[in-house]
């Protein structure tokens, strides 16, 4: 009688999955390294053959050109390195403002989309379907070339109370000028913040201990507004408004929002808001109606239900895609290059690249900046996700 062996036949050397996996990986790695080396060699040969000077020395030589908008002191004698910071700050400025506006608009539209009012819901739907299906660049061009280009010249500015002016050069607002003594107002604000922190903690402990609620929010608001206002009044209003004035060719003084930034900001927020609205809608719909009913049956009122039951659950669904929309907005702000807003891509990967001819260095730095921003935000998000993730039993 033949005996069956119970140990399976050992696979031959080449059919062993583990060995195959290792071999496959070695081949893939070797191919990548070889490819990388090939490109590296080519680049090196090309640069040498073309006699292109390379290295990062150019960052310290002076730029010699002006920049339309700068948040930090900058002049033509500043270095290319300075241009980098100016450009980066411009990118961050328009991104930050865009994120705030897009979030506000997106939440309003998203909630309107779920409204029981048929007309409002359909209007919100029209908004979403229109703006998310048109390329962002086209929207930027529309605002910049079709709308803001049609504004009047500085001498025929539209004005509100001779303090706010709108013309083709931008929107001019009065700028606050701090006088000596304003420090007291800031100090009062700091004091109010400390008091509020203590108050909130105390109110929470009292509610846990005795079950009695304390109107912490209204009292906090009163503190935050009242104390600085009091200090403002006591120190004799140490704040004057600098009103823009037409001087020669342009308005001088005041706070100017240039049309390049305005159109970029408008287009970015309107476009991104359409996506955020859909995310908000999906998030709220993801919380089942049973949650609301359960909350009511526990005796919570509608506003507490929204704050304690619905929002925390909806936010868990909303926040991850919301962050990726924020990232998209930051990356999309690079379209500034098309209308001359001096952001990182326009001023650094564009003008500096062209003035110096250092293509590889400029593009590499620019990409590295965007990559760093997105990796940082991804890391933060992963941390947040871990914190709010459902702990399943």
């Amino acid at each position: 009688m033949a005996a069956y062996t119970l140990t399976p036949a050992r696979p031959s050397f080449w059919n062993n999955p583990e060995i195959r996996a290792i071999a496959f990986q070695i081949v893939a790695l070797a191919a990548t390294v070889a490819f990388g080396y090939y490109l590296f060699e080519n680049t090196q040969t090309n640069l040498r053959r073309l006699g292109i000077a390379s290295g990062f020395d150019f960052l310290s030589s002076s730029s010699g050109f002006g920049i339309l908008q700068s948040l930090i002191p900058y002049s033509e004698t500043s270095s290319y390195g300075r241009v980098f910071w100016v450009a980066l700050l411009n990118t961050l400025l328009v991104s930050a403002l865009g994120i705030v506006l897009a979030t506000l608009l997106g939440f309003v539209i998203g909630i309107a989309r779920l409204s029981k009012n048929w007309l409002i819901a359909k209007l919100a739907l029209t908004y979403i379907e229109t703006f998310r299906n048109i390329p962002l660049l086209l929207q930027i061009f529309f605002w910049y070339f079709a709308v803001l280009r049609a504004m009047p010249s500085p001498r025929q500015s539209l004005s509100v109370g001779e303090a706010v002016f709108l013309n083709i050069r931008g929107l001019y607002l009065p700028a606050p000028q701090l006088q000596p003594g304003f420090g007291w107002v800031l100090a009062a604000l700091g004091l109010a913040l400390v008091l509020v922190a203590i108050l909130v903690r105390w109110a929470h402990r009292r509610q846990l201990g005795t079950g009695r609620q304390f109107p912490a929010i209204s009292v906090s608001l009163a503190l935050l507004l009242g104390l600085p206002l009091l200090a403002f009044w006591l120190t004799g209003s140490p704040l004057v408004w600098q009103v823009p004035e037409l001087h020669g060719f342009n308005f001088q003084g005041g706070l100017a929002i240039i049309p390049e930034m305005a159109s970029l900001l408008l287009a970015l927020s309107i476009y991104t808001a359409a996506f955020i609205a859909e995310i908000v809608r999906a998030g709220i719909q993801a919380v089942s109606h049973g949650q609301t009913e359960a909350s009511f049956s526990l005796g919570l009122n509608p506003s507490l239900t929204l704050r304690l039951i619905i929002l925390p659950q909806a936010l868990r669904v909303i926040i991850p895609p919301l962050t990726s929309q924020y990232l998209n907005l930051i990356k999309n702000s690079s379209l500034a290059a098309a209308i001359g807003y001096p952001d990182l891509v326009a001023a650094f990967a564009g003008t500096v690249l062209n003035q110096t001819g250092q293509a590889i260095e400029c593009i590499a730095i620019t990409m590295a900046v965007y990559l760093t921003i997105s990796l940082l935000i991804s890391l933060l998000m992963n941390g947040y996700n871990r914190r709010v993730a459902l702990v399943e039993r």
């Binding site: 006699g51 033509e76 010249s153 001087h247 001359g340 001819g357 590499a364």
Partner: protein, 340 residues
């Protein structure tokens, strides 16, 4: 490309010291093999390089390309034009995307050295000026303190502008676009008070405005802008061909040879003319080209005076005077070495 490429190139750039290459020239062979010259031109500048509705290019810069093609192939049509923005132009040349760059580019020391380029000559002596709306009532560039100025991004113009305002202790706001058309449109809309560029460009841009009569070019010329064709470092043979194509056209004007009389001129007794037209000697062959290539260039494209007149001068809407671009014999700067 992926992560490692990026790292690799970064490392390359850090490691590489400034090295100038001595690389045996093969551009001519490559061009001959390919069958046409790849020429980088402007993306829209009437008089220098402008594509009509059918996509046909014309202009001084374009004619230079035609002349190079005539020199190499004996056929001025064997050329392919690549419209380039100011930003792209030098990289396109450095990387071999084009053989010659003829795109109103200013000859400067840093471009000639650090960028690995060679300027072959001057097709047009230009200078930077200002174009303003008459309504502003500005008579001189010195009255421009506080003005908003439109300027093309990444050009020497941008640098000269800043130098000029700094030297005269004036302030300005720069508005920069990639395309010169966009700057002109911005001036017209009133986004800026002044458009600054090379004067030739200002005249060219002005005729593209809806009401050219409303705008004036201010008298100040704030820079020297010798515009010329550019080739890569390291290929001296090709450099010579492009350089001499231009010289031949200037010499032809000086000798009185033009596209119409070139055949007759071959019978001339003047030894200068005979040498140039390839009737006597073999000066043409020294370039690795046909012996009569100079005659072909003049015949198919014309001499410098003809090109100037038909593109920017009397025979064109731009109506620019010869000025600095007249021959040296007529008080200008156009002067070419002899064919000898």
């Amino acid at each position: 490309m992926n992560g490692r490429t990026l790292t690799a190139t970064l490392v390359t750039t850090v490691l590489l010291a400034t090295t100038s290459g001595a690389y045996a020239g093969t551009t001519l062979n490559a061009v001959k093999e390919r069958g046409y010259v790849k020429c980088g031109v402007s993306d829209g500048l009437p008089g220098f390089s402008y594509a009509d509705e059918k996509g046909k290019f014309s202009g001084i810069d374009v004619d230079l390309c035609h002349a190079v093609a005539a020199a190499v192939f004996g056929d001025s049509t064997k050329v392919k034009f690549t419209p380039l923005t100011a930003k792209e132009r030098f990289t396109a040349l450095q990387t071999g995307e084009i053989d010659v760059l003829s795109r109103n580019s200013t000859w400067t020391s840093s471009r000639d050295s650090a960028l690995g380029l060679n300027f072959t000559g001057v097709t047009y002596y230009d200078g930077q000026g200002f174009l303003v709306n008459k309504k502003l009532g500005v008579k001189s560039a010195k009255e421009l303190d506080g003005a908003t100025v439109c300027v093309q991004a990444g050009t020497t113009t941008e640098l000269n502008l800043s130098d000029y305002f700094r030297a005269h202790k004036m302030k300005y706001t720069p508005i920069t676009y990639d395309k010169s058309d966009e700057s002109a449109k911005a001036l017209e809309a009133g986004r800026c008070d002044v458009l600054t560029s090379d004067q030739s460009q200002l005249y060219a841009q002005r005729i593209k405005l809806a009401k050219p009569g409303d705008y004036v070019v201010l008298p100040e010329v704030i820079s020297k802008e010798p515009l010329g064709p550019v080739v890569r470092h390291g290929d001296d043979d090709w450099f010579d061909i492009v350089k001499w194509t231009l010289f031949v056209m200037v010499d032809a004007e000086e000798l009185g040879i033009d596209s119409k009389n070139v055949e007759e001129m071959k019978k001339s007794t003047n030894p200068d003319i005979k040498r140039m037209l390839g009737v006597e000697g073999d000066k043409g062959k020294d370039f690795g080209l046909a012996n009569d290539w100079m005659a072909v260039v003049v015949k198919q494209v014309g001499n410098y005076g003809e090109i100037f007149a038909r593109n920017v001068g009397k025979g064109s809407p731009l109506q620019i005077e010869r000025g600095l671009n007249a021959l040296w014999t007529q008080g200008g700067l156009q002067y070419a070495p002899p064919v000898r």
